[in-house]
């Protein structure tokens, strides 16, 4: 491991060599041994990877080339899993070898900053689950469903290829670089690497993007619960259940998390079943049937209270519940898809793939498919999780590949499963559910007539079929239930009822799906509001120092109110939008998320350049360029397109002119007030797009400046500033991946032979 030509020039910080403790076995597998192990291709290994490649190839052939009447869902599973395995085994190793160059002789923050609380060495497999639960939420369950309007193939290709070359790369690099910096956040790294301008732009962009993301997630919940007494009751019950769990954990049996999670889960199931019974009663139906505006206001008030309540009372217990459900649901969905193997009748490319006026989301395939599916392929939001929390728990440097890259592959698989669930339902039903009421008219008769009038091949829905589906899932209507969540719930109910329970259980499965999506989203809304509030407090604190005191109530409440007010305004705008809401706002969600990815990748680009790895800069530059081109093109079209359905300002101008002409209805807006709302909404959405894209261009430019500067320094033989924490020798060993290699096993055995007092020695307190 002696010669590493690309090792960054160490700044004069007095970094000593990594002298290992002579009393201990080696803390890393010998480089030469690991290399030899890696390069040794036994016949069994060759056969295994050839089989994986072959199976993946056949699966892609079935999906992309064969044009039968139907395609079986199992091919989606094979195509994705085989591609992930190949990406993980080969591409992520290339990144490890050429870019990150982990060194297991170095202690991780969890070791040298160990405090038993925030910095704790965590078993890699447990941390994998932990990290996965933190990154995966409702996002990958929503985007692919909305994107299914274009057919299954564009979304599938982007989810699978995108994650291997972009999404997982981002997560891995951000996690690794944050780990090398003691678990610093993305914002702090941006400031350090890109300077004050780049750092400030990144901070403002992150704050705004969080507002948009929280608002649109909330919109998904509102759309799923509107006019649904069952859903309102069972999701509403999660609040008392979480409060009970919180009190139980604080006062009755502290720390019994598994126990309380099980109790919570049972109560949750009871709430779902109870919701069905309540919704059938006259009083229940009257009390819990709420319109979307009421639910939106409820959510805003809830969001404010939840964000100022102590964490132990609501946020922490619901987070346990949400994690518990997340893992259960995903295992269940995977099992169901593998067992049931539904036949998919949706075409690879739908009629809308080549048009820019799709009813579910407007805009052409490029760039809008790539922003509609953000989570699951490339999600900038992950950079906020991959920096900060997870890096403080990593045991060994090499494990970042498994946790960062591997964790994101897992989320991508969730997105694929969501896509399969969405396309397993009838296509006519899909469009009836996902087109705004402005198009479908809102009743089963008008919706059926509208869908049949679209001229889609093989699509023929009847009002009776729409009414029957609604009855099966225990809803009053399923027409124009936009936002993706209800479609996923119908798809999941459709698959699960073939697995367990039949039609009789369909309503249960539907509401089960709505419940877990709402649970994920409410947790994200709470946590997002809190994180954003602290960011705002710290930013204001630069001018008014009092705001930096997190325990100062007036400051905390004011900042919470500002954040809730901001996302609440966008939420209400979406709920009351005469054009339909989700179809105009969802592209903004994707653009925001991808712009955050561009910011994260910019920071990584600057760091990689400063480390001197110029030859392999393309590994970061390619996904960054793609994200930048996609989001800037999408923003450009949203701002400048002359097609009103696509361009916010074109729409704005059209409605302004209609108002000036004295018209009292225009397009789907049926009153002057609605027309005025469109003018207002499009202006806000348009200006938000402008602000996002300008801030991101500033960040990307600053990253390019930093990269060029690093290159000049490098060529001139000058050292680049290296913001990594000082290297300290590690005193522990653990394998890097899921399955330990023979050399790792040998070393582990050596460590296990150590006397206990030596083995548990931790580095943290010997300052």
């Amino acid at each position: 491991m002696a010669s590493r030509p690309d090792e960054p020039v160490r700044a004069a910080k007095g970094r000593g060599p990594l002298t290992a403790d002579p009393k201990l076995p080696p803390t890393a597998v010998d480089e030469a041994v690991r290399e030899a192990e890696d390069k040794k291709w036994t016949p069994a290994k060759i056969a295994l990877w050839a089989a994986i490649a072959l199976l993946g190839g056949v699966a892609w052939f079935m999906l992309a080339i064969v044009r039968g009447e139907t395609v079986n869902a199992i091919w989606f599973v094979f195509a994705s899993v085989c591609t992930y395995l190949i990406g993980y085994r080969f591409y992520s190793k290339v990144i490890e070898r050429l870019i990150t160059k982990p060194d297991d002789r170095r202690a991780t923050p969890a070791e040298y900053k160990a405090d038993g609380k925030d910095y704790v060495r965590t078993d890699r497999n447990v941390l994998f689950g932990h990290h996965f639960a933190a990154i995966a939420g409702a996002g990958p369950l929503v985007g692919p469903i909305i994107a299914a309007q274009m057919g299954y193939l564009p979304g599938t290709i982007w989810i699978i290829i995108g994650v291997v070359l972009a999404g997982a790369v981002q997560d891995y690099l951000v996690m690794f670089f944050s780990m090398r910096r003691g678990g610093r956040s993305l914002g702090q790294m941006a400031r350090e690497e890109l300077g004050v301008i780049g750092g400030t732009a990144a901070l403002i962009a992150t704050l705004l993007i969080m507002v948009i993301i929280v608002a649109i997630l909330a919109l998904v919940v509102v759309n799923a619960l509107g006019e649904s007494p069952w859903g309102v009751f069972s999701v509403g019950m999660t609040i008392p259940i979480a409060l009970f769990m919180g009190v139980y954990l604080r006062y009755i049996r502290p720390g019994k998390i598994m126990e309380v999670s099980l109790i919570g889960f049972v109560l949750l199931m009871a709430a779902i079943i109870g919701g069905g019974l309540v919704a059938e009663t006259e009083w229940g139906s009257a009390f819990f049937t709420l319109d979307k505006v009421t639910i939106a206001w409820g959510l805003i008030v809830y969001g404010f209270i939840a964000a100022i309540l102590p964490v132990w009372l609501l946020l922490a217990p619901r987070d346990y519940l949400s994690t518990f459900m997340k893992i259960g649901v995903i295992v269940m969905l995977a099992l169901a898809i593998i067992v049931v193997r539904p036949e998919i009748t949706v075409p690879a490319f739908s009629e809308f793939a080549s048009r820019d006026n799709g009813p579910v989301f407007p805009g052409a395939l490029f760039p809008f498919l790539f922003v509609t599916i953000a989570c699951g392929a490339l999600s900038g939001f992950h950079a906020l999780i991959s920096s900060g929390t997870t890096p403080k728990l990593i045991e060994k440097e090499r494990q970042t590949r498994f946790i960062g890259y591997g964790g994101m592959l897992m989320e991508s698989f969730v997105a694929i499963m969501a896509l399969v669930a969405a396309i397993s339902i009838d296509r006519g039903l899909y469009f009836a559910m996902n087109a705004p009421a402005a198009l479908t008219g809102g009743t089963v008769e008008t919706a059926a007539a509208w869908v049949n009038g679209l001229g889609l091949s093989g699509v023929n829905v009847s009002p009776a079929m729409l009414a029957e589906t609604a009855a099966n899932v225990g809803e009053q209507s399923i027409v124009s239930r936009t936002g993706g969540a209800p479609t996923l719930a119908v798809g999941l109910a459709h698959i699960m009822q073939q697995f367990i329970g039949g039609t009789a259980l369909m309503a249960f499965w539907y509401h089960f799906a709505i419940m877990f999506e709402a649970l994920f989203i409410l947790t994200a809304v709470d946590a997002g509001t809190r994180v954003a509030r602290f960011m705002l407090q710290d930013s204001i604190g630069n001018f008014i120092p009092k705001f930096k005191e997190h325990s100062w109530r007036p400051g905390a409440w004011l900042c919470t109110a500002v954040m809730v007010g901001a996302w609440g305004a966008v939420l209400l705008m979406g709920v009351t939008d005469p054009l339909g809401g989700i179809n105009t706002l969802f592209p903004l969600f994707g653009i925001a998320n991808q712009l955050l990815a561009a910011i994260a990748l910019s920071v990584c680009l600057a760091i990689v350049a400063k480390r001197g790895s110029f030859k392999y800069l393309w590994i970061v530059a390619v996904p960054l360029a793609f994200a930048a081109v996609v989001t800037i093109t999408a923003s450009y079209q949203k701002i400048f397109s002359s097609t009103p359905a696509v361009g916010y300002f074109a729409n704005n101008a059209a409605f302004t002119k209609a108002l000036a002409d004295g018209k009292t209805e225009f397009g789907t807006a049926k009153s002057v007030a609605a027309m005025e709302a469109v003018v207002r909404n499009t202006a806000i959405q348009g200006w938000l797009s402008v602000i996002f894209v300008v801030l991101s261009i500033i960040v990307i430019t600053m990253a390019l400046v930093a990269t060029i500067k690093a290159f000049r320094n490098h060529s001139a033989g000058l050292p680049n500033v290296d913001n990594e924490d000082e290297a300290r020798p590690s005193k522990v060993f653990a394998p890097a991946g899921l399955i330990p290699t023979p050399a790792e096993r040998e070393l582990e055995a050596e460590w296990n032979k150590l006397p206990a007092e030596l083995r548990f020695e931790r580095a943290g307190h010997h300052k």
Partner: protein, 67 residues
Amino acid sequence: MSPGLAAVATGFRGFARYLGGVLGADAYAKYLEHHHAAGHGEPPLTEREFWRDRTDRQDSNPQGRCC
């Protein structure tokens, strides 16, 4: 117990332990281990105090949850 049943029980226990780890149920045990290993003079926090401290610190250090 038949060997098959025993294997199922072991598997289930392992899964429960794993899930507990992911949820963070073992945080107090890890804290104690750290406290012991680091050789602090003062007695460790009790279980009740530890969990109180843990959630109270989260009040000012929120952990992000993704979409």
